[in-house]
Subunit: 303 residues, 2 copies
DNA sequence: TTGAAAGCGTTACCAG
DNA sequence: CTGGTAACGCTTTCAA
């Protein structure tokens, strides 16, 4: 009997309907992943990891890419409609939007961001500590005049990187760094360097960029547009540790974020909240890994 | 009355349940996107475009990243369960798997792949024509000895690029190229070059790589490991036109695929099939755009 | 214009 | 252990 049913099912190409199942079980097995822009080089790695991790637990990723200048509220509303079992947000959401997820008891984990004045589930990398480490290393190697090409204003990660950098520079009693703003892309790294160089006064001996892509733009522009040798005449460092930073032409000095670990942690967190919704919010902080690379002069100065 | 209902709905944080709606309307507004590995630099751009395009039409992307060595059949079964309204596959599926989608009347579009001996809906870029164009330009500039760092065996796109290259070389009566195999990543571009150089006989004057990332690996290795000047001593070209190919250190000679147009076409195709399921399969072929770049000597030889 | 009922494909539950 | 029935939240249809 059972056999005959199975055979018929096969012939009719029967497949259980996950949607109908979700309706009654109240579990969609869907996890929304909110990402601002996938072209960031860093996020594809995150997304790929998340997708693999979730697949392992029988969860599927429902992707939401935020329109650059679109209505985030509308998109968030869409997330609710799909009754997702959880949300991972690697995008800029305002506190009200986050609060709304909590009100609806949707397991919610922030990726690489936190909220001020409130503890929410989050997986982050310690940007401030990383930035301080970077400055220490550079200062120890004799750098004295720093400049910063910062991330965009609305990036919390970028702000923290800038803040950590400035704090440590101040602590070490070095001159306040020149800060110019970028927006995380290659061109803005190039533009940042031009702005720094046209600034009157002595040029900096180290430039710290808000991410790797800007650092790469900065290195390229220094070398090819201005003929400045990196690192002997100028040190440049970035953040992230994206793949191109390891390429021979750059071999970038950078602070690598442990993407894989972080994605795994985020996925774990979502599933653990699904299974235990009353648990207290948790923030998991990972340390960035210093990659010595070759765009910064790091050996001790001897004379 | 209407007003009171709306108000109550708001207070209760009522949100329509898309899942329940799907059950009765038999439209999930979900589109499955199948991608083999997101770390390819090329696919994030595709995915990003697709997601934007679909969002505009009220469709959401359900992401399926194929495990490198996993069970594709199982993953395909999952796609069915979710009753997706359409599928875009930028991954290697066998003909049987494709046929199964058709049997279930699920709108199905292949991205950057086609099937032999069968016409299915597909959006592709003419790799063969592109490769031929590339060889023509290089030959016209005086290159005589070609080598190829090919894509992995199971990549149809890679095969076509290699085939177009070989065909044109043969037509021009030039020596048959040395072909070494890569797997699309940076390291395999480096390895490919080493293999080519240790091959006895005269070194090639042009290397055509199966994609940009390998070309970048090849250029870097030539310059930094072997001290070979590119392009004056060796020309290197790639395919794709990914963002890093435009960076100053590379300024790669490549064939850019019109990702945005292709993604838009794919999205359009899915929606048009949804609205008119009986339409005949269509293949939309885009031309690659030749990017002159600076890693290949393209000026006419004068002596 | 408003209200009630049927049905989508599944799981859960409760008799038999 | 088996079989039938209710229920999930929505849209559609039909009647009042």
């Amino acid at each position: 009997m059972r056999l005959r049913v199975m055979k018929a099912a096969d012939e009719l190409a029967y497949t259980p309907n996950a949607i109908a199942r979700s309706l009654i079980t109240r579990r969609s097995n869907l996890v929304a992943v909110l990402i601002s822009n996938l072209t960031n080089l860093y996020y594809p790695e995150v997304l790929s990891e998340l997708s693999q991790q979730f697949a392992r637990q029988g969860l599927r990723v429902l992707l939401f890419t935020l329109p650059h200048e679109g209505d985030v509220d509308k998109m968030v509303a869409q997330v609710w409609e799909y009754q997702v079992d959880g949300v991972i947000a690697a995008a800029r959401l305002n506190p009200k939007q986050v609060a709304e997820f909590e009100r609806r008891h949707i397991p919610f984990v922030l990726f690489n961001r936190t909220l001020r004045e409130r503890t929410v589930n989050a997986v982050v990398c310690d940007q401030i500590e990383g930035a301080r480490m970077l400055v220490s290393r550079l200062a120890a190697a004799g750098h004295k005049r720093f400049a910063i090409i910062s991330g965009p204003k609305d990036s919390v990660v970028g702000q923290e990187r800038t803040r950590g950098t400035r704090e440590k520079i101040a602590e070490l009693g070095l001159a306040e760094p020149l800060v110019v703003q970028g927006n995380y892309d290659y061109e803005s790294g190039a533009r940042g360097l031009r702005q720094i160089l046209q600034h009157r006064g002595r040029h900096p001996d180290a430039i710290i960029c808000g991410n790797d892509v800007m650092a790469i733009g900065c290195v390229d522009t220094a070398r090819h547009e201005f003929g400045i040798d990196v690192p002997s005449k100028l040190s440049v460092a970035g953040f992230d540790g994206v793949e191109p930073s390891t390429w021979l032409s750059y071999n970038l000095t950078t602070l690598r974020q442990p993407v894989q670990q972080m994605a795994q942690a985020a996925a774990e967190m979502v599933t653990s909240i699904i299974n235990n919704p009353s648990a207290a919010p948790e923030k998991r902080v990972f340390a960035a890994q210093f990659i010595e690379g070759g765009t910064a002069r790091l050996g001790k100065i001897t004379d």
